[in-house]
Symmetry: C2
Subunit: 409 residues, 2 copies
């Protein structure tokens, strides 16, 4: 089978894939303590008022506000100390007229009390009496029932990515388990007769597998589970069989195959054999990354990424990352971007989107982006870079000195 | 013991702590596949040249460049096809004069060949002969030995945080294990007679523990291991004993205690009992978070954070986060910041740093930061916020309409 490149622009290529992705999400119920950074898949409402009793927000005395009206330094109100609220317990008795009950920050207001006088605004007269030198209004220094959140109110909506404070908020309500998007299992197949595992000594002509490791880490960083399927030789039957096994086991399949035309054809054929609708995009107007394959088989996305490590990473970013986000209910992952001045001209053909690796450097207190040029299958181009600069489809290149956006790795 | 507030500005308070932190780092050797986002603690040099054989970067024919000089469409060079290099193997024979050996992208150059003619620039004359219609220069379409990285070159320096492409780069060199900073064990103690665990039904006057869960998630997000020590009642002996056990087990201890003066005193006393040099800072000119305690005991940092959830999170960010980064060889964690216009005035006392929670909103296509006001011990203030706005020490407040930086959660 010869390569038939129906080359699409990257954004268009992704839209074609996206339109065929399954809708709906696989969810699972997990303990809230394991749910950091997971996507919530239910609308949560509060089962209780928080707090469910009025609480003091100060150290001082619970009082009836009316008993303090008109109090001043010159004419204090005298109140009888009627006891103390112990933390974590209900006050034993209700308030009497002209009574003050000792209370600490967070303590439960006694029945009949409607305000708290700060300890700083009181003075002990004797062991049973205090002077109050400033009046308080009803509700002053008191947290009302439901002031934090009321019973039945929406706590967090489906689609929210759970942050540390959200887990604290759920703990406060006694919500100990939540329904979240299941982590996706992403199978990674590295193809190539020349590949050996990193712990092997390559013979002449062989190299160690790189993409399994870069891709696994990219999947891990996106919050999902990589399933490395190992190295497959350039034998159609073996590649197709491994791809089929991967499709059975995983939610998403990535094949990263060799860079020669014949191995690319083999990859496309193996992907096409997996199921309907099959290959949707074969070829993207992108450098590096032109021979990318985007496919869906039996409701699961399948990616054929170029074998060279730089293309592989760029195309993961452009196509796999957004797909994983989409399937797990996230917004496309935001990228850290910094502005810097370009240190060299970057030529680019119109009608093609280019991604150029750059290292950041400070010159005269200005940030500069220095292109890390190199033949495209060099992994150390990526290792030496801090990020990439995108040249838009019809921009036709960028000029030295221009301010550009650097997408950080 | 009465509270003696020697109130320091936040940055100064952190410097006091930092100056007493242990130097040097605890490291461990882990498989490279488990090392994503870990801090490298050794300088790695390449044990090999990469590639360690010259490789073709194109599909085509390996040739001696000299045999193609002067070739053109009108006057092609005729070369004898001397065989094929199979991927992952060494070419069987050396090149002869006027010979061409079929080679695929990534294939090993045969001995004597110094360039590759792209297949597009050749034409088959018969099964044993090709025409070459464009000359190639020596080295053209060939990756030299060591062109990616040379043996002995520094691959990655100590202190580097390992990214996906770095793990790919290590795989390429056969580096399967790396020395990295050990994850820190961070013990978290929540104190308060009023606290119950989230799966318990609170009695009147009791509330569920929040800070254990917020703090654990913050520790987890920073890449370290939270050790929740459970809830400790407001009994000095129990608090001190738990703090001591925590200090034995962990690298860092966080006590989050009640908000009343008496429980704060108890926390300070318990921390002071743990060892030398003890409490370094007690009180920070900060809102929320004034009663923060920074201490070092037996070479380990100990934090007494205010019990209220908002203060607790703000002070974690300002003091615990940077300390964890520092102890594990990272730079202070960069925060995502966005610019937005302030929707209300924020008053602030001069000489105090304020952090105000805000929700982001779009109005007429402009981003606005809307302060989420609320009494400071409301966890849902944090849940409803997208980030915080800092009011500098002597800024004395911010005005409605000002452009401000929002530190995103």
């Amino acid at each position: 089978m010869a390569e038939l490149f129906t080359v699409l622009a990257p954004a268009e290529a992704y839209r074609v894939l996206e339109s065929r992705l399954p809708t709906g999400m696989k969810t699972e119920r997990v303990p809230a303590v394991r749910a950091l950074d997971r996507v919530l898949c239910e609308d949560l409402t509060s089962p209780v008022d928080l707090p469910d009793f009025p609480r003091s927000t100060m150290d001082g005395f619970a009082v009836r506000a009316v008993d303090t009206y008109g109090a001043s330094e010159g004419l204090p109100a005298y109140l009888t100390v009627g006891g103390e609220v112990l933390m974590g317990t209900r006050a034993e008795t209700a308030m009497h007229v002209s009574e003050a009950i000792r209370i600490a920050t967070g303590g439960m207001m006694p029945e009949g009390a409607d305000a708290v006088v700060m300890v700083e605004n009181t003075q002990a007269v004797d062991s049973a009496t205090i002077e109050v030198v400033r009046p308080v209004a009803p509700g002053e220094n008191v947290l009302r029932v439901g002031e934090d959140i009321t019973r039945g109110a929406i706590v967090l909506a489906s689609g929210h990515v759970l942050r540390p404070q959200d887990l604290g908020g759920l703990a406060a309500l006694g919500i100990t388990h939540v329904e979240v998007a299941r982590c996706l299992r992403v199978a990674i197949v590295s193809g190539g007769d020349e590949l050996v595992a990193p712990d092997q000594e390559p013979s002449p002509g062989q190299i160690r597998d790189i993409n399994t490791y870069t891709l696994s880490a990219l999947v891990e960083r996106a919050g999902h589970e990589p399933i490395p399927m190992g190295i497959v030789p350039d034998v159609y039957e073996e590649l197709a069989a491994t791809a089929r096994r991967a499709l059975d086991m995983a939610d998403v399949v990535i094949l990263s195959a060799g860079s020669s035309v014949s191995t690319r054809d083999m990859t496309a054929q193996a992907i096409a054999s997996l199921g309907e609708p099959g290959v949707l995009v074969h070829g993207v107007s992108l450098r590096p990354g032109k021979p990318t394959i985007l496919a869906v088989a039996n409701g699961k996305p399948v990616f054929g990424l170029p074998g060279n490590p730089v293309s592989c990473m760029v195309t993961f970013d452009l196509f796999v990352g957004p797909t994983l986000a989409r399937l797990s209910g996230r917004r496309a992952p935001p990228r850290n971007v910094v502005r810097a001045r370009l240190a060299h001209n970057i030529p680019s053909a119109a009608g093609r989107e280019d991604y150029v690796q750059v290292a950041l450097e400070s010159r005269d207190d200005e940030p500069w982006a220095v292109p890390v040029f190199g033949k495209s299958n060099l992994i150390y181009t990526l290792v030496r870079s801090d990020g990439m600069v995108k040249v838009e489809l019809d921009e036709g290149g960028l000029r030295e000195g221009d301010w550009v956006s650097v997408i950080l790795f």
